[in-house]
């Protein structure tokens, strides 16, 4: 192990600037990465983290500033060049090739060969080895896309690790990983560091940063505002630096008290819902004025549950009753008519319409209501859009294409899309994935307020902390079956973890989820 | 059946030509059909055809659209039916390689005789294959190139019109109608087809003898009515002083007439149109006064084709090239023939 102080830093980025169509994304950004160091790179959504990384690795050309690797100026023009220079990156969105096999994804660009031809056997063995380091044992001949997102993310990591980088850049690798996988990843990162590899780690989860990183670079509005050892800042100070103002309350604390049920009848009652292949038998109820949580391990069927409630996936069995109206919901259209709203977990594939403006994206679900005698009421549309941009603090112009917004701001627009329909029940699937701490707090506060105003909310989140702090009641799914309910009194991360893992209900007055049936 | 001779009418009408004519061809008689060379060899080495009461024959048509080709196919089918023969027709849809494929597929079915209307002159190799299979081939309306297939050996004979002569006759007719002065635009048929190439040659060569007629533009209109109309519109706008149009085919002529009308001029008066094919529509146009003259290119090959086939089966001497006789139609005789036209 070398001492970073004696040898000079591995990477120095100084005074980097970058504009997109006249808008500054980076303005004097600086980042220094020492040897055998894991550096956190943090900032609000849109602060410029991904842009800085993409400049380092040659995806974007910088407008100004310099990049020094090992003290020598470098100017990579493509990811390939960066890789040849020892800089390997895992980009924010999972960027692999879904229809090729897992093995090929790991070896794309450097296939092992025998007599000039691709040596499949060696490749498969190599892939299995690379995945084994991440404690993953899967069929490497299957197409990558047939695995869930977390596995794909782990494959991307396995690929990057096997590339034997000097500098490994990880842009939000953990946003789709569960705790166990995060731990595995951290284990690998530590051993890499011990073998002399430096890393840049981006995450919006503060506790992760403190767990794995030594130093931190804070970006705000495209400028580096702090570069220091992480230990010298506490979480509150760190967030304050990120925001440029005193953080009122970091990560919205647990809600004061349970909201009372306003009505006896649930606004949404689900019983025995099944949807092939992963949802088998799920039951729950959502009451007006409450936030109902759904927890479960990855792949436990949470997303499928929400999708089939909303008519996005076919419901093969069971019933979904909205506001005691027996009419079945078969399509999103009918769901919207029944005053449901659904925020998908996959922003890119199921949320944004990239080249449409923020305005059109925001009012997409509202179009029927904005139409008077066949004509869209542009004035009202404008008013609503202005209103939501202000209310949610969206950093964007109304007529900007949504694709130009940072991830967090896109998410807010999508949330606004559904809020504008004034739903009776809001289905949220991972609403804060990839969202910075302050925006997350804002969104959770908003959810809290919406519930207080009488909306029913069904919230899926992989972040237990979020579930615990936001929900009045949590249904736990396991292998597509609702196995338990945890009510507000017993709600804690530990209790949830225990139930999720064991599938055993915590003893409680009304812990059997199917008991909800008796309500209707 | 093929009527003979147009030259006499041409000659008779020539006297009426304007004395102001400033070139020879404006007053000359219609040059008429060309005659087969006296020394045309006899088909001797082609596969023999047995004499039978009925035959199973095949006909490879190169494209079965447009009135002309349809009339040709119909004529072949009608005549076969009349004679009680079985006929199989393929349509290459304007595609040389499809025609080759068609012919091979026909050879595979071993007909007694094979009639081919070649798409281009260069399908000769497959004609040779028919010879190897022992099937006598008769070419109609176009021929194949000598270098690929030999007349009288690889195929029996070819029954064709003389396109060069057609172009020449059109030029004469045009010169006569215009009195030998004016600006002319020409519309050509399908790029590279021998009819288009030869008619152009005949027309332009003859026109050289008439300096008063200036050819201001030539465009390929692909035998399409709408295309000819578009092109004529554009050309008339760029050359407003045009006084005559030569269209190689009647469809293009009809398009040109429509374009002349759309340009606010009177076809047959402001602008004269001469065309070739001899369709009913064209003859009617002559009767109506919108077209000046038309050089026939008779599509009704059926009777002649089967007659030749029977002669060949009977062992008669068949020349390796048989020329079709085409008439010249103008205001003096169009009315008489319009009802028989295809």
């Amino acid at each position: 192990m070398t001492d970073p102080k004696t040898e000079g830093p591995l990477l120095q980025m100084r005074g980097v600037t970058k504009s997109f169509r006249g808008a500054r994304a980076l303005d004097d950004a600086t980042m220094t990465v020492g040897r055998s160091q894991i550096r956190a790179l943090i900032g609000q959504n849109g602060a410029g983290k991904s842009t800085l990384i993409k400049i380092l690795t040659g995806v974007y050309r910088r407008d100004g500033g310099e990049v020094l690797l090992d003290g020598r100026p470098v100017d990579f023009r493509s990811t390939a060049e960066a890789q040849a220079g020892g800089v390997v990156t895992i980009y924010q969105e999972v960027n692999l090739v879904p229809k090729l096999s897992v093995a090929e994804n790991i070896f794309l660009g450097r296939f092992p060969k025998r007599r000039g031809l691709v040596d499949w056997a060696t490749m498969r063995a190599g892939a299995r080895d690379a995945l084994a380091k991440l404690s993953l044992d899967i069929d490497v001949t299957r197409p990558l896309g047939s695995y869930r997102v977390a596995t794909q993310q782990m494959t991307a990591i396995a690929r990057a690790v096997s590339l034997e980088a000097r500098l490994l850049v990880l842009d939000e690798p953990t946003s789709s990983l569960a705790e166990r996988e995060v731990e595995t990843l951290f284990g690998v990162m530590r051993s890499l560091r011990d073998s002399g590899v430096s890393m840049v780690f981006v995450s919006h989860r503060m506790d992760e940063l403190y767990e794995i990183c030594e130093d931190v670079t804070v970006l705000r509005d495209g400028r580096t505002v702090a570069e220091e050892p992480l230990a010298s800042l506490n979480q509150y100070e760190l967030v304050s630096k990120m925001l440029g103002r005193a953080a009122e309350q970091v990560a919205s604390g647990a809600r004061a008290a349970a909201r009372p049920r306003q009505q006896a009848e649930p606004v949404l009652a689900v019983s025995g819902a099944a949807s092939a292949p992963r949802l088998k038998d799920a039951s729950l109820a959502v009451y007006a004025g409450q936030v109902q949580g759904v927890a479960g391990l990855l792949g436990s069927g949470r997303s499928e549950l929400l999708r089939s409630i909303f008519g996005a996936d076919p419901l093969d069995g069971g019933t979904v009753v909205v506001s005691s109206d027996a009419a079945p919901i078969r399509t999103p259209r009918e769901a919207i008519a029944a005053r449901l709203a659904f925020l998908s977990e996959d922003r890119r594939a199921e949320g944004i319409v990239p080249h449409l403006s923020v305005r059109d994206n925001l009012t997409l679900a509202l179009l029927p209501k904005l139409t008077r005698r066949g004509i869209v009421d542009r004035k009202r549309q404008k008013q609503i859009v202005t209103d939501y941009i202000a209310r949610l603090g969206i950093k964007a112009q109304a007529d900007q294409p949504i694709v130009e917004l940072s991830g967090g701001n896109q998410q807010k627009v999508l949330l606004a899309r559904w809020l504008a329909t004034e739903p009776a029940v809001l289905l949220l699937d991972e609403p804060t994935r990839g969202i910075d701490v302050s925006a997350k707090a804002e969104i959770l506060t908003l959810v809290d307020k919406l519930a207080a105003d009488g909306m029913g909310v069904l919230l899926v989140s992989s972040e237990l902390e979020e579930v615990v702090s936001a929900c009045d009641d949590v249904t736990v799914l396991r292998d597509g079956v609702s196995v338990a309910r945890v009510d507000v009194e017993r709600l804690s991360e530990e209790s949830l973890m225990a139930v999720m893992a064991s599938g055993e209900a915590v003893p409680s007055a009304d812990s059997a989820p199917n008991k909800d049936k008796s309500d209707d | 059946s093929v009527d003979s001779g147009g030259s006499s009418e041409g000659g008779a009408a020539a006297g009426a030509a304007s004395p102001a004519a400033n070139c020879a061809i404006a007053t000359a008689a219609d040059p008429g059909n060309s005659q087969p060379a006296a020394d045309t060899p006899i088909a001797e080495n082609a596969p023999k055809l047995a004499q039978k009461d009925t035959y199973r024959v095949a006909f490879s048509q190169n494209a079965n659209n447009g009135a002309w080709r349809i009339a040709e196919t119909q004529s072949m089918q009608d005549e076969a039916k009349r004679l009680g023969y079985q006929i199989q027709v393929t349509d290459a849809q304007n595609n040389q390689s499809k025609q080759i494929q068609d012919i091979r597929s026909l050879i595979a079915q071993k007909p007694d005789a094979l009639f081919v209307a070649p798409m281009t002159e260069e399908i000769g190799t497959v004609i040779g294959e028919a010879k190897s299979a022992g099937i006598p081939v008769f070419l109609i309306d176009r021929t194949v190139s000598d270098s690929q297939a030999k007349a009288g050996t690889d195929y029996v004979t070819t029954i064709v019109s003389d396109f060069v002569q057609e172009g020449k006759r059109a030029a004469y007719a045009l010169a006569k109608a215009t009195g030998g002065t004016g600006k002319v635009i020409a519309l050509e048929g399908t790029t590279g087809s021998s009819s288009a190439v030869d008619r152009k040659k005949g027309f332009e060569d003859a026109l050289k003898e008439c300096p008063g007629l200036e050819l201001v533009a030539t465009q390929d209109a692909d035998n399409q009515r709408a295309r000819a109309q578009d092109i004529t519109e554009s050309l008339l706008q760029a050359n407003p002083d045009v006084t005559a149009v030569y269209a190689q085919g009647d469809d293009m002529a009809m398009g040109a007439i429509a374009a002349i009308r759309a340009a606010g001029k009177v076809p047959g008066k402001d602008i004269l149109v001469v065309s070739g094919d001899g369709s009913k529509e064209a003859l009617q146009a002559i009767v109506d006064g919108t077209m000046a003259a038309n050089v026939e290119c008779n599509p009704r090959f059926g009777p002649k084709a089967f007659e030749v086939m029977k002669q060949y089966a009977a062992g008669d001497e068949v020349p390796t090239k048989i020329l079709n006789e085409d008439r010249l139609f103008d205001s003096s005789n169009a009315g008489e023939f319009v009802d028989q036209a295809y």
């Binding site: 006249g22 319409v353 179009l367 029927p368 066949g374 | 009135a67 533009a217 554009s234 009809m254």
Partner: protein, 328 residues
């Protein structure tokens, strides 16, 4: 360094003329303008109102109408290879009915119905059966023209109906029918896409079909409608073409029109991937390509050379568009 950073306002002021955007918006229009200027100088009588309206615009109008339909289909991320064949089919069917003595008031709508039905067929294959648009529309591309030939036996049928003559030679408000129709159709399409939700729905389906489905848009219906409208417009153009040559020509009517239309849409700066729609620029694209062709014809350039020029102009146009997009 700091100097630069503190003067962003000035910098952007210098760059006020946003060339890339200008090229994207007005590139085709600029080429069109150049061609017009060239013709004014070098082509006799070009500026004659009769020429502009009754030759140039009238020749372009049918393709432009078809291109508008194509632009709708392309906006959904699809493509329609069958429009040319549908033009032929609708014209032939109408011609046959007219020749059979069916009153024009029945025969003409039937032509449009044929187009709509073809569009429905395409749309159904694409949206219900999930067949890739190019292959789905290849079916009618092949069979449609065949059917048109079957209907008329491959013959050109001359139709001497006053209504057909009116379609071809008639004048409304001083404009040829086809030009007048183009204007009406353009206004209608722009009106509908601007003022009703249809436009946004169309772009949403083309931009992200799954997202559109999740906000309650009937994506299959929207896609089908795009093909139906494109088919209907092609059907109507079939009538116009029938009127133009006063005859039905199954083999040649609408031949290659789909490629002309696609080229125009592309030159207009629309990506074939879907999610964008610009009717005005599509028409300018058609006018530009048509005038180019006519200019070459008028100046006696042989067809094969004209083809080379057309190909090169299309490449040049999309190359400039691409550059302007990159420069953003």
């Amino acid at each position: 360094m700091t100097d630069l950073a503190t003067r962003p306002a000035e910098v952007s002021a210098l760059r006020r003329i946003d060339w890339p955007t200008m090229i994207r918006r007005y590139g085709a229009a600029a080429v069109l303008a150049l061609l017009v200027i060239f013709n004014i100088i070098f082509t006799e009588n070009f500026l004659d109102l009769r020429n502009i309206l009754f030759v140039q615009l009238r020749q372009a109008a049918p393709t432009a109408i078809v291109a508008l339909g194509m632009a709708l289909v392309i906006a959904t991320g699809g493509i329609d290879l069958s429009v040319g064949a549908v033009v032929a089919l609708s014209g032939q069917v109408t011609a046959v009915f007219l020749l059979d003595g069916v009153p024009p008031l029945v025969a003409l709508p039937i032509g449009i119905l044929v187009g709509l039905a073809a569009g429905l067929f395409n749309g159904t294959l694409v949206s219900r059966f999930g067949i890739q648009p190019m292959i789905a529309t290849l079916v009618l591309f092949t069979a449609g023209r065949g059917l048109a030939q079957v209907v008329t036996g491959g013959r050109i049928q001359t139709v001497n109906e006053p209504i057909v003559e009116f379609l071809g030679l008639g004048v409304i408000a001083g404009l040829p029918i086809s030009v007048f129709s183009l204007i009406v159709i353009t206004i209608a399409i722009i009106g509908v896409t601007r003022f009703t939700p249809a436009g946004t729905k169309l772009l949403a389906v083309g931009g992200n079909e799954r997202a559109a489905g999740l906000v309650g848009i009937r994506t299959k219906w929207v896609k089908t409608m795009a093909y139906v409208v494109a088919g209907g417009l092609a059907g109507y153009v079939g009538l116009l073409e029938l009127g133009r040559i006063q005859a039905s020509d199954a083999t040649n009517a609408g031949l290659n029109m789909e490629l002309d239309a696609i080229a125009a849409v592309a030159v207009a700066g629309t990506t074939l991937a879907g999610g964008t729609f610009s009717p005005g620029r599509t028409i300018i694209g058609v006018l530009m390509l048509r005038l180019l062709q006519n200019t070459l014809v008028a100046h006696g350039i042989p067809r094969e050379v004209a083809q080379i020029a057309q190909g090169l102009i299309i490449v040049a146009a999309i190359y400039l568009l691409r550059r302007s997009r990159d420069a953003r």
